[in-house]
Symmetry: C2
DNA sequence: TCTGAAAATGGACCTTT
DNA sequence: AAAGGTCCATTTTCAGA
């Protein structure tokens, strides 16, 4: 799908605040509300817009700790890696998981309530997998920035 | 603010899909649409819900590379760290930034179109700062998971 | 919890390029 | 055809009784 300047402007706006009315969006980008509606609908169905979600404050739910874990695997056999990916995907405390090139293999960003919960999770995710050679834990002292905004300019 | 089981159910739902109507949400959690409206409004104003945003597919906008950078600083003076934080915050390609305890100091997750763009960004963000001792780059080969969902159960 | 007004969405239809 | 605009019906939101 190819996108024009109107689409870019809309993507920028809805990534910042998806509650803005189509009327209001239209006024900003110089388009009728109906045209905005059509474009958003299309970008949704084409998968440019993956979805619309509420962002929740982790602290309000007791998740005061962000932990970053670098995981090194024992064996890079595809079926073993897939099994690990599945386990990470299924774990709600894993917010993000990247499979990376280089010395470590997986990088996880986890949200936990306290260190005990993290310890428990390491047991389930790392020790029981039998394919983790070692892992390194980094604890976040401050979440300077945490968003999924995709730049539309530049 | 304290939250009950209804709030939890609502937070779970709107984090997955914020386009669901309050009517529909009410049916799922056994509450009238008006009650759902009041609760969501309250959680928004109290900051439990930080906002509602559209999630965009980075690839659709040409961002095919996710790069993770571990930054080690030269000097931990607060004003210097704040200046760095500000630079990271202001850079749209930096999706996430954590200030961490341990051997490295900042962990960044960046979205770039290609390696040239990354090289350019390292110049702006690291070399020009004069406070970066060294940095290590990890390239993501697959984004196994990438969301900001906060678990409501467990 | 119910009711109702105001707002928002999304389709139909016509016009322009 | 493809995309915009206007109009209109339906749905949704949200406040007051």
């Amino acid at each position: 799908m190819d996108l024009d300047a109107f689409d870019y402007a809309l993507l920028d706006a809805v990534q910042r605040d998806a509650t803005t009315s189509q009327q209001n969006l239209g006024e900003r980008v110089n388009l009728s509300a109906a045209a905005v509606n059509r474009r958003l609908k299309k970008m949704n169905s084409e998968g440019v817009i993956l979805g619309t979600v509420a962002r929740v404050d982790p602290v309000a739910l007791g998740y005061t700790l962000t932990v970053i874990t670098e995981v090194e695997v024992e064996n890079e056999r595809l079926d073993l890696l897939d099994e690990m990916k599945r386990a990470f995907l299924a774990c709600p405390q894993v917010q993000q998981c990247y499979y990376v090139a280089g010395e470590c293999d997986f990088l996880l960003i986890m949200l936990v309530k306290n260190m005990e919960q993290y310890t428990q999770l390491t047991r389930e995710l790392f020790f029981e997998s039998n394919n983790v050679k070692r892992f390194k834990t980094l604890v976040s002292m401050s979440n300077v920035k945490s968003e999924l905004y995709v730049p539309v300019l530049a």
